[in-house]
Symmetry: C2
Subunit: 333 residues, 2 copies
Protein backbone atom coordinates (compact mmCIF):
# COMPACT_ATOMS: atom_id res chain seq x y z
CA UNK A 1 0.00 0.00 0.00
CA UNK A 2 1.44 3.34 -0.95
CA UNK A 3 0.69 6.76 0.53
CA UNK A 4 -1.98 7.55 -2.06
CA UNK A 5 -3.88 4.33 -1.43
CA UNK A 6 -3.59 4.73 2.31
CA UNK A 7 -4.87 8.31 2.13
CA UNK A 8 -7.78 7.18 -0.02
CA UNK A 9 -8.71 4.52 2.53
CA UNK A 10 -8.78 7.27 5.16
CA UNK A 11 -10.76 9.60 2.94
CA UNK A 12 -8.03 12.20 3.35
CA UNK A 13 -5.75 13.83 0.81
CA UNK A 14 -2.26 12.38 0.42
CA UNK A 15 -0.87 15.77 1.38
CA UNK A 16 -2.83 15.81 4.64
CA UNK A 17 -1.68 12.30 5.52
CA UNK A 18 1.91 13.15 4.67
CA UNK A 19 1.82 16.28 6.79
CA UNK A 20 0.16 14.38 9.63
CA UNK A 21 2.91 11.77 9.55
CA UNK A 22 5.48 14.56 9.59
CA UNK A 23 3.85 16.19 12.64
CA UNK A 24 3.05 19.39 10.76
CA UNK A 25 1.49 22.19 12.81
CA UNK A 26 -1.11 22.62 10.06
CA UNK A 27 -2.77 19.34 11.01
CA UNK A 28 -4.79 18.96 14.22
CA UNK A 29 -3.53 16.59 16.90
CA UNK A 30 -6.80 14.68 16.55
CA UNK A 31 -6.17 14.03 12.86
CA UNK A 32 -2.53 13.16 13.50
CA UNK A 33 -3.47 10.59 16.11
CA UNK A 34 -6.17 9.16 13.83
CA UNK A 35 -3.67 8.82 10.97
CA UNK A 36 -1.05 7.19 13.19
CA UNK A 37 -3.58 4.79 14.66
CA UNK A 38 -4.94 3.75 11.30
CA UNK A 39 -1.45 3.44 9.83
CA UNK A 40 -0.74 0.96 12.59
CA UNK A 41 -4.05 -0.91 12.18
CA UNK A 42 -3.70 -1.15 8.43
CA UNK A 43 -0.03 -2.02 8.64
CA UNK A 44 0.79 0.98 6.49
CA UNK A 45 4.48 1.70 6.72
CA UNK A 46 5.27 5.11 5.34
CA UNK A 47 8.76 4.99 4.00
CA UNK A 48 9.38 8.19 2.12
CA UNK A 49 13.01 8.37 3.14
CA UNK A 50 14.56 5.20 1.84
CA UNK A 51 12.85 5.60 -1.52
CA UNK A 52 13.49 9.28 -1.86
CA UNK A 53 16.93 10.32 -0.77
CA UNK A 54 16.63 13.62 -2.50
CA UNK A 55 13.61 14.50 -0.41
CA UNK A 56 15.33 13.32 2.75
CA UNK A 57 18.27 15.55 2.05
CA UNK A 58 16.12 18.52 1.27
CA UNK A 59 13.90 18.05 4.28
CA UNK A 60 16.75 18.12 6.76
CA UNK A 61 18.86 21.07 7.82
CA UNK A 62 21.85 21.17 10.13
CA UNK A 63 22.44 23.64 12.93
CA UNK A 64 26.07 23.94 13.99
CA UNK A 65 26.62 25.67 17.34
CA UNK A 66 29.56 25.94 19.71
CA UNK A 67 27.93 25.15 23.03
CA UNK A 68 24.81 23.43 24.27
CA UNK A 69 24.80 24.68 27.87
CA UNK A 70 24.53 28.31 26.80
CA UNK A 71 20.90 29.45 26.96
CA UNK A 72 21.44 31.75 24.01
CA UNK A 73 22.12 28.87 21.63
CA UNK A 74 19.34 26.75 23.17
CA UNK A 75 16.83 29.51 22.47
CA UNK A 76 18.11 30.18 18.95
CA UNK A 77 17.59 26.47 18.25
CA UNK A 78 14.03 26.72 19.57
CA UNK A 79 13.49 29.61 17.17
CA UNK A 80 14.88 27.61 14.24
CA UNK A 81 12.84 24.58 15.26
CA UNK A 82 9.58 26.54 15.26
CA UNK A 83 10.07 27.54 11.61
CA UNK A 84 11.43 24.13 10.60
CA UNK A 85 8.37 22.44 12.05
CA UNK A 86 6.05 24.69 10.05
CA UNK A 87 7.98 23.84 6.92
CA UNK A 88 8.07 20.11 7.66
CA UNK A 89 11.86 20.02 8.03
CA UNK A 90 13.90 18.02 10.49
CA UNK A 91 16.85 19.68 12.14
CA UNK A 92 20.09 18.01 13.11
CA UNK A 93 22.15 19.70 15.78
CA UNK A 94 25.93 19.56 15.85
CA UNK A 95 28.11 20.91 18.65
CA UNK A 96 31.63 22.05 17.99
CA UNK A 97 32.35 22.49 21.72
CA UNK A 98 34.13 25.67 20.61
CA UNK A 99 36.79 23.59 18.84
CA UNK A 100 38.05 24.73 15.44
CA UNK A 101 39.03 21.20 14.48
CA UNK A 102 35.62 19.85 15.41
CA UNK A 103 34.00 22.59 13.34
CA UNK A 104 36.14 21.68 10.32
CA UNK A 105 35.34 17.97 10.73
CA UNK A 106 31.60 18.69 11.12
CA UNK A 107 31.41 20.88 8.03
CA UNK A 108 33.42 18.38 6.03
CA UNK A 109 30.85 15.76 6.99
CA UNK A 110 27.96 18.05 6.09
CA UNK A 111 29.49 19.29 2.84
CA UNK A 112 28.85 15.86 1.45
CA UNK A 113 25.24 16.70 0.88
CA UNK A 114 23.58 14.98 3.78
CA UNK A 115 21.51 18.09 4.51
CA UNK A 116 19.70 20.70 2.46
CA UNK A 117 21.29 23.62 4.27
CA UNK A 118 23.21 24.76 7.33
CA UNK A 119 22.70 27.38 10.04
CA UNK A 120 26.01 28.10 11.69
CA UNK A 121 27.64 29.98 14.55
CA UNK A 122 31.45 29.84 14.66
CA UNK A 123 33.56 28.34 17.42
CA UNK A 124 35.55 30.75 19.59
CA UNK A 125 38.78 29.31 18.18
CA UNK A 126 37.97 29.68 14.49
CA UNK A 127 40.50 31.90 12.78
CA UNK A 128 40.68 30.32 9.33
CA UNK A 129 37.66 30.13 7.05
CA UNK A 130 38.62 27.71 4.29
CA UNK A 131 36.07 25.18 5.53
CA UNK A 132 33.37 27.82 5.16
CA UNK A 133 34.58 28.76 1.67
CA UNK A 134 34.23 25.08 0.82
CA UNK A 135 30.49 25.27 1.59
CA UNK A 136 30.15 28.15 -0.86
CA UNK A 137 32.13 26.31 -3.51
CA UNK A 138 29.81 23.33 -3.15
CA UNK A 139 26.71 25.52 -3.34
CA UNK A 140 25.41 24.38 0.00
CA UNK A 141 22.96 26.99 1.30
CA UNK A 142 24.03 28.33 4.69
CA UNK A 143 23.25 31.19 7.06
CA UNK A 144 25.47 32.56 9.81
CA UNK A 145 24.07 33.79 13.09
CA UNK A 146 25.65 35.63 16.01
CA UNK A 147 29.25 34.46 15.58
CA UNK A 148 29.49 35.31 11.91
CA UNK A 149 32.51 35.44 9.61
CA UNK A 150 32.88 38.94 8.24
CA UNK A 151 35.31 37.90 5.51
CA UNK A 152 32.80 35.70 3.77
CA UNK A 153 29.81 36.89 1.80
CA UNK A 154 26.87 34.99 3.19
CA UNK A 155 23.49 35.61 4.77
CA UNK A 156 23.98 36.73 8.38
CA UNK A 157 21.76 37.36 11.38
CA UNK A 158 23.46 39.31 14.15
CA UNK A 159 22.74 41.70 16.97
CA UNK A 160 24.06 45.18 17.71
CA UNK A 161 27.09 43.92 19.59
CA UNK A 162 29.08 47.15 19.58
CA UNK A 163 26.16 49.35 20.62
CA UNK A 164 25.04 46.93 23.32
CA UNK A 165 28.54 46.68 24.81
CA UNK A 166 28.93 50.45 24.62
CA UNK A 167 25.64 50.93 26.46
CA UNK A 168 26.57 48.39 29.16
CA UNK A 169 29.98 49.99 29.74
CA UNK A 170 28.44 53.47 29.84
CA UNK A 171 25.95 52.26 32.43
CA UNK A 172 28.81 50.96 34.63
CA UNK A 173 30.57 54.34 34.27
CA UNK A 174 27.36 56.13 35.31
CA UNK A 175 27.24 53.87 38.39
CA UNK A 176 30.67 55.25 39.31
CA UNK A 177 32.88 52.40 38.11
CA UNK A 178 36.29 53.35 36.72
CA UNK A 179 38.28 50.11 36.70
CA UNK A 180 36.13 47.83 34.57
CA UNK A 181 37.53 44.41 33.71
CA UNK A 182 36.44 43.07 30.33
CA UNK A 183 36.20 39.29 29.88
CA UNK A 184 36.65 38.58 26.20
CA UNK A 185 35.27 35.21 25.13
CA UNK A 186 37.25 35.01 21.88
CA UNK A 187 40.09 36.89 20.25
CA UNK A 188 38.86 35.93 16.81
CA UNK A 189 35.11 36.09 16.38
CA UNK A 190 33.62 39.32 15.04
CA UNK A 191 31.02 39.18 17.82
CA UNK A 192 33.53 39.39 20.65
CA UNK A 193 35.73 41.87 18.80
CA UNK A 194 32.77 44.22 18.37
CA UNK A 195 31.83 43.88 22.01
CA UNK A 196 35.39 44.78 22.96
CA UNK A 197 35.31 47.81 20.65
CA UNK A 198 32.05 48.96 22.27
CA UNK A 199 33.72 48.67 25.69
CA UNK A 200 36.85 50.54 24.58
CA UNK A 201 34.88 53.29 22.81
CA UNK A 202 32.73 53.94 25.86
CA UNK A 203 35.81 54.24 28.08
CA UNK A 204 37.64 56.50 25.64
CA UNK A 205 34.64 58.77 25.09
CA UNK A 206 34.42 59.21 28.85
CA UNK A 207 38.16 59.93 29.21
CA UNK A 208 38.88 56.70 31.05
CA UNK A 209 42.19 55.15 30.15
CA UNK A 210 41.99 51.70 28.57
CA UNK A 211 44.15 49.42 30.69
CA UNK A 212 44.99 46.23 28.79
CA UNK A 213 45.75 44.55 32.11
CA UNK A 214 41.99 44.62 32.69
CA UNK A 215 41.14 42.89 29.42
CA UNK A 216 41.15 39.15 29.91
CA UNK A 217 41.28 37.01 26.77
CA UNK A 218 39.50 33.89 27.91
CA UNK A 219 39.84 30.41 26.46
CA UNK A 220 37.19 27.75 25.92
CA UNK A 221 38.32 25.94 29.07
CA UNK A 222 36.20 26.75 32.11
CA UNK A 223 38.86 25.80 34.65
CA UNK A 224 41.49 27.97 32.94
CA UNK A 225 39.08 30.90 32.88
CA UNK A 226 38.30 30.55 36.58
CA UNK A 227 42.02 30.59 37.34
CA UNK A 228 42.66 33.58 35.08
CA UNK A 229 39.81 35.63 36.57
CA UNK A 230 40.91 34.70 40.10
CA UNK A 231 44.41 35.87 39.23
CA UNK A 232 43.10 39.12 37.71
CA UNK A 233 40.96 39.97 40.74
CA UNK A 234 43.71 39.16 43.24
CA UNK A 235 46.41 41.15 41.41
CA UNK A 236 44.28 44.11 40.27
CA UNK A 237 42.80 45.03 43.62
CA UNK A 238 41.09 48.18 42.37
CA UNK A 239 38.80 46.49 39.84
CA UNK A 240 35.31 47.83 40.58
CA UNK A 241 33.31 46.14 37.81
CA UNK A 242 33.31 43.09 35.56
CA UNK A 243 31.84 43.08 32.06
CA UNK A 244 31.50 39.47 30.87
CA UNK A 245 31.15 39.17 27.11
CA UNK A 246 29.38 35.78 27.22
CA UNK A 247 26.96 33.83 29.39
CA UNK A 248 29.60 31.29 30.43
CA UNK A 249 31.90 34.09 31.57
CA UNK A 250 29.01 35.69 33.48
CA UNK A 251 28.46 32.42 35.37
CA UNK A 252 32.16 32.15 36.16
CA UNK A 253 32.14 35.72 37.49
CA UNK A 254 29.48 34.81 40.07
CA UNK A 255 31.50 31.75 41.06
CA UNK A 256 34.89 33.48 41.33
CA UNK A 257 33.52 36.46 43.29
CA UNK A 258 31.92 34.09 45.77
CA UNK A 259 35.06 32.00 46.19
CA UNK A 260 37.14 35.17 46.76
CA UNK A 261 34.58 36.58 49.19
CA UNK A 262 33.96 39.58 46.94
CA UNK A 263 30.51 41.11 47.38
CA UNK A 264 28.53 41.86 44.22
CA UNK A 265 27.57 44.72 43.81
CA UNK A 266 29.17 46.42 46.87
CA UNK A 267 32.78 45.67 45.91
CA UNK A 268 32.42 44.74 42.26
CA UNK A 269 29.51 45.44 39.94
CA UNK A 270 28.72 42.80 37.36
CA UNK A 271 27.19 43.02 33.92
CA UNK A 272 27.23 40.49 31.10
CA UNK A 273 25.65 38.94 28.05
CA UNK A 274 23.12 36.25 28.96
CA UNK A 275 19.82 34.63 28.05
CA UNK A 276 19.31 32.83 31.35
CA UNK A 277 15.67 32.37 32.37
CA UNK A 278 16.65 32.80 35.99
CA UNK A 279 18.75 36.01 35.64
CA UNK A 280 16.19 37.86 37.79
CA UNK A 281 16.44 35.18 40.48
CA UNK A 282 20.21 35.13 40.92
CA UNK A 283 21.77 36.53 44.06
CA UNK A 284 22.17 39.38 43.38
CA UNK A 285 19.79 39.54 40.42
CA UNK A 286 21.79 39.83 37.22
CA UNK A 287 22.05 42.98 35.09
CA UNK A 288 22.44 41.53 31.63
CA UNK A 289 22.31 42.19 27.94
CA UNK A 290 19.79 39.81 26.47
CA UNK A 291 19.87 38.98 22.79
CA UNK A 292 16.58 38.21 21.01
CA UNK A 293 17.63 34.58 20.62
CA UNK A 294 14.32 33.07 19.53
CA UNK A 295 13.89 35.77 16.86
CA UNK A 296 17.47 35.24 15.66
CA UNK A 297 16.62 31.56 15.11
CA UNK A 298 13.40 32.51 13.33
CA UNK A 299 15.16 34.91 10.99
CA UNK A 300 18.06 32.59 10.23
CA UNK A 301 15.71 29.68 9.45
CA UNK A 302 13.49 31.87 7.27
CA UNK A 303 16.44 32.96 5.14
CA UNK A 304 17.80 29.43 4.92
CA UNK A 305 14.48 28.00 3.71
CA UNK A 306 14.21 30.78 1.13
CA UNK A 307 17.73 29.93 -0.11
CA UNK A 308 16.86 26.24 -0.30
CA UNK A 309 13.53 26.76 -2.02
CA UNK A 310 14.65 29.47 -4.42
CA UNK A 311 18.16 28.42 -5.44
CA UNK A 312 18.11 30.87 -8.37
CA UNK A 313 18.03 33.86 -6.00
CA UNK A 314 21.23 34.95 -4.26
CA UNK A 315 20.65 35.67 -0.58
CA UNK A 316 24.32 36.00 0.30
CA UNK A 317 24.11 39.76 0.86
CA UNK A 318 21.24 39.44 3.35
CA UNK A 319 22.23 41.02 6.63
CA UNK A 320 19.73 41.18 9.47
CA UNK A 321 20.67 42.98 12.64
CA UNK A 322 18.41 42.74 15.66
CA UNK A 323 18.67 44.74 18.86
CA UNK A 324 19.61 43.37 22.26
CA UNK A 325 18.22 44.82 25.46
CA UNK A 326 19.98 45.81 28.66
CA UNK A 327 17.99 44.73 31.71
CA UNK A 328 19.12 46.58 34.83
CA UNK A 329 19.06 44.61 38.07
CA UNK A 330 20.85 44.43 41.42
CA UNK A 331 24.28 43.22 40.30
CA UNK A 332 25.04 46.81 39.27
CA UNK A 333 23.23 48.54 42.14
CA UNK B 1 45.42 11.18 -4.39
CA UNK B 2 43.93 8.76 -1.91
CA UNK B 3 44.38 8.62 1.84
CA UNK B 4 47.23 6.12 1.65
CA UNK B 5 49.23 8.22 -0.81
CA UNK B 6 48.56 11.38 1.17
CA UNK B 7 49.67 9.70 4.41
CA UNK B 8 52.83 8.46 2.70
CA UNK B 9 53.65 11.99 1.53
CA UNK B 10 53.33 13.13 5.14
CA UNK B 11 55.40 10.22 6.42
CA UNK B 12 52.52 9.25 8.69
CA UNK B 13 50.41 6.13 8.84
CA UNK B 14 47.03 6.22 7.06
CA UNK B 15 45.39 5.48 10.40
CA UNK B 16 47.04 8.50 12.04
CA UNK B 17 45.99 10.77 9.18
CA UNK B 18 42.46 9.42 9.27
CA UNK B 19 42.19 9.94 13.01
CA UNK B 20 43.68 13.42 12.70
CA UNK B 21 41.08 14.34 10.09
CA UNK B 22 38.38 13.00 12.38
CA UNK B 23 39.63 15.10 15.31
CA UNK B 24 40.44 12.04 17.42
CA UNK B 25 41.65 12.72 20.95
CA UNK B 26 44.47 10.24 20.37
CA UNK B 27 46.21 12.63 17.99
CA UNK B 28 47.95 15.78 19.23
CA UNK B 29 46.57 19.17 18.17
CA UNK B 30 49.94 19.88 16.56
CA UNK B 31 49.69 16.83 14.30
CA UNK B 32 46.05 17.57 13.50
CA UNK B 33 46.87 21.11 12.43
CA UNK B 34 49.84 19.89 10.38
CA UNK B 35 47.64 17.31 8.61
CA UNK B 36 44.91 19.86 7.91
CA UNK B 37 47.41 22.39 6.61
CA UNK B 38 49.13 19.92 4.30
CA UNK B 39 45.81 18.54 3.10
CA UNK B 40 44.99 22.07 2.02
CA UNK B 41 48.40 22.72 0.43
CA UNK B 42 48.39 19.46 -1.45
CA UNK B 43 44.76 19.79 -2.42
CA UNK B 44 43.99 16.52 -0.74
CA UNK B 45 40.25 16.18 -0.31
CA UNK B 46 39.41 13.38 2.09
CA UNK B 47 36.04 12.05 1.13
CA UNK B 48 35.45 8.95 3.15
CA UNK B 49 31.73 9.57 3.48
CA UNK B 50 30.46 9.64 -0.08
CA UNK B 51 32.42 6.52 -0.96
CA UNK B 52 31.57 4.60 2.15
CA UNK B 53 28.01 4.96 3.27
CA UNK B 54 28.31 1.98 5.52
CA UNK B 55 31.07 3.64 7.45
CA UNK B 56 29.12 6.90 7.63
CA UNK B 57 26.11 5.10 9.07
CA UNK B 58 28.15 3.21 11.61
CA UNK B 59 30.11 6.26 12.65
CA UNK B 60 27.04 8.30 13.53
CA UNK B 61 24.70 7.87 16.48
CA UNK B 62 21.52 9.74 17.31
CA UNK B 63 20.59 11.18 20.68
CA UNK B 64 16.87 11.81 21.11
CA UNK B 65 15.98 14.06 24.04
CA UNK B 66 12.83 15.93 25.05
CA UNK B 67 14.23 19.34 25.86
CA UNK B 68 17.30 21.39 25.10
CA UNK B 69 16.96 24.11 27.73
CA UNK B 70 17.13 21.59 30.57
CA UNK B 71 20.69 21.45 31.96
CA UNK B 72 20.27 17.78 32.76
CA UNK B 73 19.95 16.82 29.09
CA UNK B 74 22.67 19.26 28.06
CA UNK B 75 25.10 17.59 30.46
CA UNK B 76 24.08 14.07 29.47
CA UNK B 77 24.83 15.04 25.87
CA UNK B 78 28.26 16.32 26.94
CA UNK B 79 28.86 12.95 28.58
CA UNK B 80 27.81 11.09 25.43
CA UNK B 81 29.90 13.40 23.27
CA UNK B 82 33.05 12.76 25.30
CA UNK B 83 32.83 9.00 24.63
CA UNK B 84 31.71 9.48 21.01
CA UNK B 85 34.72 11.68 20.34
CA UNK B 86 37.10 9.04 21.71
CA UNK B 87 35.47 6.47 19.48
CA UNK B 88 35.50 8.74 16.42
CA UNK B 89 31.71 8.90 16.20
CA UNK B 90 29.56 11.87 15.26
CA UNK B 91 26.41 12.47 17.22
CA UNK B 92 23.17 13.88 15.87
CA UNK B 93 20.82 15.46 18.35
CA UNK B 94 17.05 15.36 17.96
CA UNK B 95 14.58 17.19 20.19
CA UNK B 96 11.09 15.90 20.65
CA UNK B 97 10.06 19.05 22.56
CA UNK B 98 8.22 16.60 24.83
CA UNK B 99 5.84 15.74 21.98
CA UNK B 100 4.79 12.12 21.48
CA UNK B 101 4.09 12.73 17.80
CA UNK B 102 7.47 14.30 17.27
CA UNK B 103 9.11 11.37 18.97
CA UNK B 104 7.26 8.92 16.71
CA UNK B 105 8.22 10.91 13.60
CA UNK B 106 11.87 11.15 14.70
CA UNK B 107 12.21 7.44 15.41
CA UNK B 108 10.49 6.60 12.14
CA UNK B 109 13.10 8.74 10.39
CA UNK B 110 15.93 7.09 12.30
CA UNK B 111 14.62 3.55 11.93
CA UNK B 112 15.54 3.81 8.30
CA UNK B 113 19.14 3.11 9.11
CA UNK B 114 20.63 6.57 8.91
CA UNK B 115 22.50 6.00 12.19
CA UNK B 116 24.35 3.15 13.80
CA UNK B 117 22.47 3.44 17.08
CA UNK B 118 20.24 5.60 19.27
CA UNK B 119 20.39 6.95 22.81
CA UNK B 120 16.94 7.95 23.92
CA UNK B 121 14.97 9.64 26.70
CA UNK B 122 11.18 9.60 26.30
CA UNK B 123 8.92 12.61 25.94
CA UNK B 124 6.64 13.44 28.86
CA UNK B 125 3.62 12.61 26.70
CA UNK B 126 4.70 9.16 25.55
CA UNK B 127 2.22 6.52 26.63
CA UNK B 128 2.40 4.07 23.75
CA UNK B 129 5.59 2.26 22.85
CA UNK B 130 4.99 0.77 19.42
CA UNK B 131 7.54 3.10 17.87
CA UNK B 132 10.14 1.77 20.31
CA UNK B 133 9.20 -1.84 19.59
CA UNK B 134 9.78 -1.01 15.94
CA UNK B 135 13.43 -0.20 16.74
CA UNK B 136 13.85 -3.63 18.32
CA UNK B 137 12.17 -5.32 15.37
CA UNK B 138 14.59 -3.59 13.03
CA UNK B 139 17.59 -4.55 15.17
CA UNK B 140 18.67 -0.96 15.65
CA UNK B 141 20.88 -0.77 18.77
CA UNK B 142 19.47 1.65 21.32
CA UNK B 143 19.91 2.60 24.96
CA UNK B 144 17.41 4.38 27.19
CA UNK B 145 18.47 6.90 29.79
CA UNK B 146 16.55 8.66 32.57
CA UNK B 147 13.08 8.58 31.03
CA UNK B 148 13.09 4.90 30.23
CA UNK B 149 10.28 2.60 29.14
CA UNK B 150 9.84 -0.15 31.70
CA UNK B 151 7.70 -2.30 29.41
CA UNK B 152 10.47 -2.81 26.88
CA UNK B 153 13.54 -4.93 27.38
CA UNK B 154 16.45 -2.70 26.46
CA UNK B 155 19.65 -1.35 27.98
CA UNK B 156 18.81 1.40 30.48
CA UNK B 157 20.74 3.97 32.48
CA UNK B 158 18.73 5.55 35.27
CA UNK B 159 19.11 7.11 38.68
CA UNK B 160 17.57 6.23 42.03
CA UNK B 161 14.44 8.29 41.44
CA UNK B 162 12.31 6.80 44.19
CA UNK B 163 15.03 6.95 46.84
CA UNK B 164 16.04 10.50 45.89
CA UNK B 165 12.44 11.75 46.01
CA UNK B 166 11.90 9.95 49.31
CA UNK B 167 14.99 11.59 50.77
CA UNK B 168 13.96 15.05 49.54
CA UNK B 169 10.44 14.71 50.96
CA UNK B 170 11.81 13.39 54.27
CA UNK B 171 14.12 16.39 54.46
CA UNK B 172 11.17 18.77 54.01
CA UNK B 173 9.28 16.90 56.77
CA UNK B 174 12.31 17.27 59.06
CA UNK B 175 12.27 20.99 58.33
CA UNK B 176 8.72 21.08 59.69
CA UNK B 177 6.75 21.08 56.43
CA UNK B 178 3.44 19.22 56.44
CA UNK B 179 1.61 20.48 53.33
CA UNK B 180 4.05 19.65 50.56
CA UNK B 181 2.87 20.27 47.01
CA UNK B 182 4.30 17.83 44.45
CA UNK B 183 4.74 19.07 40.87
CA UNK B 184 4.63 16.01 38.64
CA UNK B 185 6.26 16.56 35.24
CA UNK B 186 4.57 13.61 33.53
CA UNK B 187 1.78 11.19 34.32
CA UNK B 188 3.33 8.54 32.11
CA UNK B 189 7.09 8.28 32.38
CA UNK B 190 8.52 5.79 34.85
CA UNK B 191 10.90 8.50 36.09
CA UNK B 192 8.16 10.84 37.28
CA UNK B 193 6.00 7.98 38.57
CA UNK B 194 8.89 6.73 40.74
CA UNK B 195 9.54 10.23 42.03
CA UNK B 196 5.87 10.51 42.97
CA UNK B 197 6.00 7.14 44.75
CA UNK B 198 9.05 8.30 46.72
CA UNK B 199 7.13 11.42 47.77
CA UNK B 200 4.01 9.44 48.76
CA UNK B 201 5.99 6.78 50.63
CA UNK B 202 7.85 9.38 52.67
CA UNK B 203 4.58 11.08 53.64
CA UNK B 204 2.87 7.79 54.52
CA UNK B 205 5.80 6.51 56.58
CA UNK B 206 5.68 9.73 58.56
CA UNK B 207 1.92 9.54 59.07
CA UNK B 208 1.18 12.53 56.88
CA UNK B 209 -1.97 12.20 54.84
CA UNK B 210 -1.48 12.25 51.07
CA UNK B 211 -3.71 15.02 49.72
CA UNK B 212 -4.22 14.61 45.97
CA UNK B 213 -5.19 18.30 45.78
CA UNK B 214 -1.49 19.00 46.39
CA UNK B 215 -0.29 16.81 43.52
CA UNK B 216 -0.16 18.87 40.35
CA UNK B 217 0.07 16.93 37.09
CA UNK B 218 1.89 19.39 34.88
CA UNK B 219 1.84 19.56 31.11
CA UNK B 220 4.65 20.35 28.69
CA UNK B 221 3.36 23.91 28.28
CA UNK B 222 5.19 26.42 30.47
CA UNK B 223 2.37 28.97 30.48
CA UNK B 224 -0.21 26.37 31.49
CA UNK B 225 2.05 25.19 34.29
CA UNK B 226 2.54 28.72 35.62
CA UNK B 227 -1.23 29.19 35.68
CA UNK B 228 -1.82 25.83 37.37
CA UNK B 229 0.80 26.45 40.07
CA UNK B 230 -0.54 29.97 40.65
CA UNK B 231 -4.01 28.50 41.05
CA UNK B 232 -2.74 25.82 43.45
CA UNK B 233 -0.90 28.29 45.67
CA UNK B 234 -3.81 30.76 45.78
CA UNK B 235 -6.44 28.12 46.59
CA UNK B 236 -4.37 25.93 48.94
CA UNK B 237 -3.21 28.67 51.29
CA UNK B 238 -1.56 26.27 53.77
CA UNK B 239 1.01 24.83 51.36
CA UNK B 240 4.34 25.12 53.16
CA UNK B 241 6.64 23.46 50.63
CA UNK B 242 6.98 22.70 46.93
CA UNK B 243 8.73 19.64 45.56
CA UNK B 244 9.33 20.14 41.83
CA UNK B 245 10.01 16.89 39.99
CA UNK B 246 11.93 18.53 37.11
CA UNK B 247 14.26 21.45 36.46
CA UNK B 248 11.68 23.33 34.40
CA UNK B 249 9.14 23.04 37.22
CA UNK B 250 11.78 24.24 39.70
CA UNK B 251 12.34 27.37 37.60
CA UNK B 252 8.60 27.99 37.38
CA UNK B 253 8.34 27.68 41.18
CA UNK B 254 10.81 30.54 41.66
CA UNK B 255 8.88 32.64 39.15
CA UNK B 256 5.40 31.96 40.55
CA UNK B 257 6.46 32.52 44.18
CA UNK B 258 7.96 35.86 43.21
CA UNK B 259 4.90 36.97 41.25
CA UNK B 260 2.62 36.01 44.19
CA UNK B 261 4.92 37.74 46.68
CA UNK B 262 5.57 34.47 48.49
CA UNK B 263 8.88 34.40 50.35
CA UNK B 264 11.08 31.32 49.85
CA UNK B 265 11.93 29.79 52.35
CA UNK B 266 9.99 31.73 55.04
CA UNK B 267 6.53 30.99 53.65
CA UNK B 268 7.24 28.11 51.32
CA UNK B 269 10.29 25.87 51.20
CA UNK B 270 11.40 24.72 47.78
CA UNK B 271 13.20 21.59 46.66
CA UNK B 272 13.52 20.16 43.17
CA UNK B 273 15.42 18.15 40.61
CA UNK B 274 17.99 20.26 38.77
CA UNK B 275 21.45 20.30 37.20
CA UNK B 276 21.76 24.09 37.01
CA UNK B 277 25.33 25.39 37.33
CA UNK B 278 24.03 28.41 39.19
CA UNK B 279 21.81 26.62 41.74
CA UNK B 280 24.09 27.91 44.52
CA UNK B 281 23.75 31.47 43.24
CA UNK B 282 19.96 31.68 43.06
CA UNK B 283 18.07 33.83 45.52
CA UNK B 284 17.58 31.96 47.76
CA UNK B 285 20.19 29.36 46.84
CA UNK B 286 18.46 26.23 45.61
CA UNK B 287 18.22 22.96 47.52
CA UNK B 288 18.18 20.43 44.73
CA UNK B 289 18.59 16.83 43.77
CA UNK B 290 21.33 16.66 41.20
CA UNK B 291 21.60 13.69 38.91
CA UNK B 292 25.05 12.57 37.71
CA UNK B 293 24.21 13.72 34.19
CA UNK B 294 27.67 13.56 32.63
CA UNK B 295 28.19 10.02 33.98
CA UNK B 296 24.76 8.97 32.71
CA UNK B 297 25.81 10.10 29.22
CA UNK B 298 29.12 8.25 29.57
CA UNK B 299 27.45 5.01 30.63
CA UNK B 300 24.74 5.16 27.97
CA UNK B 301 27.28 5.83 25.21
CA UNK B 302 29.57 3.06 26.44
CA UNK B 303 26.75 0.49 26.29
CA UNK B 304 25.59 1.72 22.89
CA UNK B 305 29.07 1.44 21.36
CA UNK B 306 29.41 -2.06 22.80
CA UNK B 307 26.06 -3.02 21.23
CA UNK B 308 27.11 -1.57 17.90
CA UNK B 309 30.54 -3.14 17.91
CA UNK B 310 29.49 -6.54 19.26
CA UNK B 311 26.14 -7.21 17.60
CA UNK B 312 26.34 -10.89 18.58
CA UNK B 313 26.07 -10.02 22.28
CA UNK B 314 22.69 -9.10 23.75
CA UNK B 315 22.91 -6.03 25.99
CA UNK B 316 19.16 -5.60 26.37
CA UNK B 317 19.17 -6.69 30.02
CA UNK B 318 21.82 -4.14 31.01
CA UNK B 319 20.50 -1.92 33.75
CA UNK B 320 22.74 0.72 35.28
CA UNK B 321 21.45 2.77 38.17
CA UNK B 322 23.48 5.72 39.40
CA UNK B 323 22.85 7.75 42.54
CA UNK B 324 21.68 11.34 42.65
CA UNK B 325 22.74 13.68 45.42
CA UNK B 326 20.67 16.07 47.53
CA UNK B 327 22.46 19.38 48.00
CA UNK B 328 20.99 21.35 50.91
CA UNK B 329 20.88 25.12 50.48
CA UNK B 330 18.81 28.10 51.60
CA UNK B 331 15.56 27.44 49.75
CA UNK B 332 14.71 24.93 52.49
CA UNK B 333 16.18 26.87 55.42
Amino acid sequence: MNLKEFAKALNLSASTVSRALNDSHEISTKTKLRVLELAKEMNFEPNPFASNLRRQKNKTIAVVVPDITNHFFAKVIEGIESIAQEKGYHILIYFTLDSYLKEVATLRLLSNGRVGGIILSLSAETNNYDHIRELKKRNIPFVFFDRVCEEIEAAKVTTDNKTAAHQATKYLLERGCRRIAFLNFSEFTATSIKRKIGYIDALTQNNIEVDTALILNCSTNKKENIEALTHLLTTQKDVDAIFASSENLSIISYQVCESLGINIPQQIKLIGFSNMTLAAHLNPSFTCITQPAFEIGNEAATILFKSIEKPHIDYSDTLIQLNSSLVKRNSTN
